[in-house]
């Protein structure tokens, strides 16, 4: 499916389950998302992560709503739990089936997002290992001066942002020397289209979700 439409669809469904309280609709959405992930060779380990990560916040909400809220609403407790798992499985489905480059290209070509946003963010992603390394370096440099930094120390962020400023400068200059000019027309190595099938799929899924939400408790 076209990445931009897929993103829209995921956001649409996530918003819809936020403003509705339908347990069965949520459960069916989760099951469908998990089934699609299974088709995409999602490993058991990844499934376990998917279940483990939201477990605590989901349980916290469930316990509070079911045992401590004025109406002790068990049904609503389960709705919230299923809603959280709904977000997570939809989000994972999106990130697991969409490459960053494909999304950037689709947003640029189909949604006319200015290319400086699409490629500026992509360029920053290449530096993730460098940033991890750099934050580690800041912690250690502080130790060598007899200072222990914590995640709430302003110095940590100050140093990291100074480095980020320098890197953004270097990257922007390098992109420019690879021919990138803000606002200039670009050709496309891969043309990303929105096919009739994409539109039909989008419409069909949205209709199906409405049916689920209206028909089921």
């Amino acid at each position: 499916m076209n990445p931009s439409l897929k993103l829209f669809l995921i956001l649409f469904i996530s918003l819809e389950i936020t403003f509705t309280s339908k347990l069965w609709a949520n459960i069916i959405i989760i099951l469908v998302a998990l089934a699609l992930l299974a088709v995409h060779h999602f490993s058991w380990r990844q499934f376990c992560w998917l279940i483990a990560i939201p477990f605590l916040p989901a349980m916290a909400l469930f316990i509070t709503i079911s045992f401590f809220s004025p109406d002790r609403d068990w049904f609503y407790g389960w709705v919230l739990v299923s809603r959280i798992y709904g977000y997570v499985s939809l989000g994972t489905l999106f990130t697991a089936t969409t490459s960053q480059l494909a999304l950037a290209r689709s947003l640029e070509q189909n949604c006319h997002l200015p290319s400086k946003y699409a490629y500026g963010v992509l360029a920053a992603f290449n530096l993730v290992p460098r940033i991890r390394q750099s934050i580690n370096t800041i912690y250690m440099a502080a130790r060598m001066r007899g200072v222990t930094l914590h995640w709430w120390s302003p110095t940590l962020y100050f140093k990291a942002i100074l480095a980020a400023i320098q890197w953004s400068d270097q990257l922007a200059q390098a992109m420019e020397s690879h021919g990138f000019v803000e606002g200039q027309v670009r050709s496309f190595a891969t043309v990303i289209t929105i096919s009739k099938k994409d539109w039909l799929l989008l419409g069909g899924i949205i209709l199906a979700v409405q049916f689920l939400v209206i028909a089921l408790p």
């Binding site: 490629y119 250690m140 021919g179 670009r186 190595a189």
Partner: protein
Amino acid sequence: MKEFSFNHLSFSFTTGEPVLTDLTASFAPRAVHLLTGPSGSGKSTILKLIAGLLPKYGGQITAGNLTVPEGSRSGMLFQDPVMQFALDTPRHELEFTLENCQVPRGQMKGQIATALSFARVTPLADRKITTLSGGQQQRVALAAVVAMKPTILLLDEPFANVDSANRQLILNQLAQLNRKNKTTIIITDHECFGYQELHPQVWQLRDHHLHALTPKEGNELLRHADQQEAAPIRVTMPSKDEQAIVDFTDLTIRQGDSVLLTPTNLHLVKNKTTLLTGANGVGKSTLLKALARLLPYDGQINFQGTDIQKISPGKYFRDVGLIFQHANDQFLNVTVGEELALSRQHGHNPFFTRARLQQALSDLQLNGREDQVVYSLSGGQKKKLQLLLMLMMGQQLLLLDEPFTGLDSQSLATILQLIRESRQVLPLTIVVVSHQLSGIEDFVDYHLVMQNQQLSYQRN
């Protein structure tokens, strides 16, 4: 075709002193130019002005002007290899580059294949760029700029993180580019070895001015540089009965997919100075960082008999300090005064009494700068401050990664004298990685060389 010419050009960044003053020079098209000069002298400013990146990205031309021939297209290679890619793989980066140049889709595949094979990176085309070595990344960057078919190619200290095999490969391809496509090439480098084949016009940047050397002088300089590279430094081997401070047991270091150091067993002698040299990109900095627990390694490193992974960071870094290659990494505060205060507060080197510190500051010409922002100091001032701050901390072992970059011989002598005096009060073991060997011969006790993924002591 006209020349690239600077006419009485002065340039300064908004914060500091002028970088270039009254620069006049003409770069002949279709030739190869080599700009030399100490680091921080403004070589990359010249390249970025030609590329049109400056003053767009900061600073201003305060006098004079620069003329660039009409219809010239520039491509640029930067010093930090990884900082020049927007996309994840070489193929995607080349696609991005050709898209920017509005190359029609039908022609892209062929042009990409040609450029990849020119830079000998075809087998790497779909690998993640972040997993490649510095030399491989620089070859990918070369492929990207060559795909743009530039009329002028600018290379800003391109070999700083590149091993010698890749350096040679890139130099060969540049010679070919200049011969076949008549591409103008301007390279900045503070080391001049390996350039004889290119027959470059050599320029020296001194005191904000650019001096063109005559062909004879240029050849002389290049030949001298080639010989100097092989010149050894007079040292002995450490004897068996000397006390070790650090032991390597089967130490192995990897970077991405490549091995930098095969299993090595070796020790570093306590209270002595060990020089560590090796070609660019061979892994000297990586070794120091492994010792400073900044990077993972295999095998074991013992500090005074204890595995360093079993020492708490707080305790370890009381005893071991690293002088970072990039001085900015060392600083934690904003002003020089705050940095000094921090080292005085936490440092425990008894040598630095208040009077001795004042003396050191004035010897290093850092006095009176207490309110200055450390990041606005010149490269040499930063290096001096960095060394002083770490000496004050009083660690037993200091790892120095290119500590003398941008220092004139006077400053170098002063800093070495300071270290000697401090050592008489508080013994100190030093491991130093340095390109610059002149001026430090008497300072070094032992010499470790890193080559072919191995580490060994030198003797002569």
